[in-house]
Symmetry: C2
Subunit: 274 residues, 2 copies
């Protein structure tokens, strides 16, 4: 049983043990990819997400909720964001994927939006603006942050991979800072699964901090390689979010059933390798 002072990273470990899963389903409800029978609006998205959660919840440790796909629906989307968050069972973590980064007083209000208004367990953070953009999010040890380190997309080479005069690449410097900021055991990193070759060095730098590793599935990241290089000695410390390959496993009326099957297969595949 967890006490009320459990840190986010401890809670994550506990939930991954209980659920026997490192899988996180990414809720990216793209209107254009909803099954044909659903209306292409907030009502359709609500129905879609509700059924996806119902069919996948036994196979995951977390849901990653991508704010963009809700915000694109306008005011109704924001309503829906709150409703969908409420549908996620208490024993599963919610990661609000919104990539925040702003100066202190503004960041404080974004933290309120994520943790109070929406009651998310964790949030993704963009490090470009430095420590005061991160600090309001890490004050409560029970709430987690995942700081962008090395992302899965092509644009990660534009800035993240630049070499500094200290002989570190920028993302390595960011990751070292994130490790310094992890004084309450509630900080993790985002490292793209498409960058498997970077996981070994990152794991050595961050000890047992968690890595959220998007890019498996549609983007082609290799589960086996990131598990081999990215797990801690205790075989923990990775969350594997998969979105499109699960939620759009079928574009027919069996979408929820197929999503459940795909989630179970990914969970089992991860556990076999691990």
């Amino acid at each position: 049983m967890m006490t009320s002072t459990t840190s986010f990273n401890e809670k994550l470990n506990w939930i991954q043990t209980q659920s026997e899963s490192m899988l996180c389903v990414g809720l990216d409800p793209d209107l254009e990819r909803l099954p044909a029978s659903l209306p292409k609006n907030a009502v359709g998205v609500a129905h879609f997400c509700e059924n996806i959660i119902q069919s996948t919840k036994d196979h995951v440790c977390a849901y990653k909720i991508n704010s963009a796909f809700f915000e694109a629906l306008g005011v109704e989307g924001f309503d829906l964001l709150g409703d969908i968050r409420e549908l996620i069972p208490e024993n599963i973590l919610t990661i609000y994927d919104v990539k925040r980064g702003d100066i202190g007083n503004t960041a404080k209000h974004y933290a309120r939006a994520a943790f109070r208004a929406l009651n998310m367990d964790a949030v993704t953070i963009n490090p470009y603006m430095g420590y005061d953009a991160v600090e309001p999010f890490i004050q409560d040890p029970e709430r987690g942050v995942f700081i962008l380190g090395l992302t899965s997309n092509p644009g990660s080479q534009d800035f993240q991979q630049l070499m500094l005069d200290s002989d570190d690449r920028l993302y390595i410097h960011v990751i070292k800072k994130a490790a310094e900021w992890n004084t309450q055991n509630n900080v993790g990193l985002v490292v793209g699964a498409t960058k498997a070759e970077a996981f070994g060095e990152i794991r050595r730098l961050i000890h047992d901090m968690p890595i959220l590793a998007p890019g498996v599935g549609a983007q082609g990241g290799d589960i086996e390689k990131i598990l081999q290089a990215g797990l801690t000695e205790q075989k923990t410390g990775l969350i594997i979010p998969i979105s499109r390959a699960i939620i759009f496993a079928s574009d027919q009326d069996d979408f929820a059933e197929k999503a459940g099957t795909a989630a179970k297969e990914f969970k089992d595949k991860i556990n076999r390798i691990n």
Copy 2:
């Protein structure tokens, strides 16, 4: 008269000429700082913003709408964000200060949220994830983006000011890339007014691209110095957003009147120096 194919940066110049103002009022409606007579909720914020817009609209070229202070109110805040945007007259630009940055397909949906759902004229963008995080926002030449270069906060030294092995600081490299991406004349930079010493070099690098320069007022940036170093030869290219020093000029029931007076004073001060 502007045609329908006017680029954002041209439109900005035109509106600054018409309004005879480089001033942008920042709408950061912090609940804790609302006048005592207003309720500390979305109704109070609505009343506050409506009166601030009414009393300042003759003195500004733009409003900068800070999403955090609306999102912190929860679902009602998002409703309000749309309502407040609608209150801004057509001849004044709206800059949605939300500092987005995410991979291509997600960025496309954030662009929809900003430009279609909310009909904002421009948006602030975080460059850390590179070109594919920016590209969906710059496709429409009539909509503008302001890319974070060197920000006004203490944390700007954590990463932005790091020296690269190419002998540029990171923010200079970001600014050079932003200039490359400005093929449709709709890209600008965010450079903190607290960093006046950097404006001269940045202006040489970006020619006549606009700079949004927050940090005047509560953060202590020096208007005179940034105008001297940051304006183009044609005395254009700067937008000076001021928030707290205008919208909280009084914490009494005369808040709107005092905001109007403060806005006029800042506008006149800028025009005297310029």
